[in-house]
């Protein structure tokens, strides 16, 4: 089963989507609408988002591309809900920058509270998976708590969804093709098997430091293939058997409107 949050006919709804793409609200009402309908507004799929953990340099090839040694320990940074937006929504490119890139990532959504979780029990704490696009503004990198909040905590720069796939519906999460297309052309093509620190490792590692709670998320990093994004570009991040996440880039002025 898949789970999402949408706005449809003016109502905010929690929905389940079955294998035949049939949509049912959690109240049991069936919605007569197709998944690709423009009448659906997709919200970020985690209803009460908690702490978002994101991984840097967690694919061997991406670590090489960025001229770093692969890390011996996970590089983890934290994001909050201000960064989240849904499928088919917009993200903005700040004015006067040189390089903004996408990062297609597998996200593990925590479903159960836990601390000091052993690696072999870790998957019991994962409710399911989704896809995010953890955009970065490389111009803003500074060598203090790198990647710093100015790079990674901006409004709208973490599209996620469209849905969460139940954990048990994914046969082998460590062997999924991961691709990104910009304006219809594939620019990133990797596999979750190249992850340096896998989900059980990360759940064990993080839960040795702190309590994990339902609604927390772990964005597991991205493989190589970074290109610059410009307003007007459409970027689609896809992970096999999970979902495809589409985002349109707009200017800072278009995004903030009256507040620009």
């Amino acid at each position: 089963m898949r789970h999402a949050r949408i706005i449809f006919e003016g109502r905010e709804l929690d929905i389940d989507i079955d294998a035949s793409d049939r949509i049912t609200t959690t109240d049991g009402q069936e919605l007569n609408v197709a998944l690709d309908s423009a009448d659906i507004t997709w919200l970020p799929p985690v209803k009460e988002p908690g702490t978002i953990f994101a991984l840097g340099l967690n694919y061997a090839d991406h670590a090489t591309e960025l001229a770093f040694e692969p890390p011996k320990e996970p590089l983890v940074f934290i994001k909050h809900a201000n960064t989240l937006t849904g499928h088919k929504q917009v993200s903005y490119r700040p004015d006067n920058i040189e390089f903004q890139h996408y990062e297609c990532e597998l996200v593990a959504v925590i479903g159960k509270r836990g601390k000091n979780i052993k690696r072999e029990d870790a998957m019991d704490y994962v409710a399911g998976y989704t896809v995010c696009n953890d955009f970065a503004i490389r111009d803003y990198l500074e060598n203090y708590y790198r990647p710093n909040l100015r790079v990674k905590s901006r409004d709208s720069l973490l599209p996620m969804g469209p849905w969460i796939v139940d954990r048990d519906d994914v046969a082998d999460v460590n062997n999924l093709r991961l691709t990104t297309e910009v304006n219809g052309k594939i620019t990133q093509d990797g596999s979750t098997r190249d992850m340096i620190f896998d989900i059980p490792f990360l759940v064990e590692y993080l839960s040795k430091i702190m309590t994990l709670n339902p609604g927390d998320m772990i964005a597991t990093g991205t493989p190589h293939g970074m290109v610059d994004m410009q307003p007007g570009d459409t970027v689609v991040c896809t992970i096999e058997d999970i979902c495809s996440l589409e985002t349109r880039i707009v200017s800072e002025k278009e995004y903030y409107g009256d507040k620009y």
Binding site: G50, T51, F53, L75, V76, F77, I78, H80, A81, N82, T83, K115, N116, Y140, E142, N143, Y144, Y145, R146, P147, N148, L149, R150, S153, R154, D155, L206, K208, I209, M210, T211, L212, N213, Y256, K259, Y260
Partner: protein
């Protein structure tokens, strides 16, 4: 996370905002891995599992083998509580968005490097007490004129006049609001004395700001 935390959705902390600390570290910050001093506020989050309240125990940290950590430290800051949605505001108007003030303590492992986000040192459960209350913004004439004092077991360990901050409260609210839209109830810890105070198991820690209150917590593990 404590159910009655004063924090809503986000606690943003500002590191390296003590002028004397920045001056002392200038040589270090011109070398690798930093290469140059910070040009922007240096920010980190204390996530929700860290949020704690006045009067509560702060857990003593464990290492990865489950043994007690050899050392912990504390810093205290004025906490600025946001009162309304704060998006891209100017420094001149920033204080209009403040609902009130409180105190934030940041218990952590001693910090040796500022290069990478310090998840292991700063995300410890119960390590961010906030309180004892939120005093209304209009009771504080000038937040930058306040002084934060830390006592351990009744002994004064650290005095930090906010006049020694590299960036003022208004400047920080403005700069942060150009990165992220702040929501009502979110808290910014605007600056800590560069010298964090070492603490031991069972210590009673009081952080005081005149007109804001005293935040009291005890370290666990004793």
């Amino acid at each position: 996370m404590t159910a009655n935390t004063l924090v809503s959705s986000k606690l943003v902390c500002v590191a390296l905002n003590d002028k004397s600390q920045l001056a002392a570290l200038e040589g270090t910050f011109n070398e690798a891995p930093y290469k140059k001093p910070p040009t922007q506020p240096v920010l980190y989050y204390k996530p929700r599992n860290t949020w704690n309240v006045d009067g509560a125990e702060v857990e003593w940290a464990k290492d990865f083998d489950g043994n007690d950590a050899p050392a912990m430290a504390v810093g205290a800051s004025l906490g600025v509580v946001i009162g309304q949605e704060t998006c891209r505001v100017s420094q001149a108007e920033a204080l209009e968005y403040v609902r009130g003030y409180t105190i934030v303590c940041d218990f952590s492992l001693p910090e040796e490097s500022y290069f990478r986000p310090d998840i292991k040192g700063k995300c410890l459960d119960t390590s961010a007490p906030v309180g004892p209350e939120i005093v209304p913004a209009d009771t504080i004439d000038n937040p930058d004129a306040l002084t934060v004092t830390v006592f351990v077991n009744g002994e004064r360990k650290n005095v930090f006049p906010l006049a020694n901050m590299q960036r003022s409260v208004a400047e920080l609210i403005s700069k942060i609001s150009w990165i992220m839209t702040l929501q009502p109830g979110e808290v910014i810890a605007v600056g800590f004395a560069g010298e964090r105070v070492p603490v031991a198991k069972g210590d009673r820690v009081e952080a005081t700001i005149e007109g804001v209150g005293t935040l009291t917590n005890t370290l666990g593990g004793a």
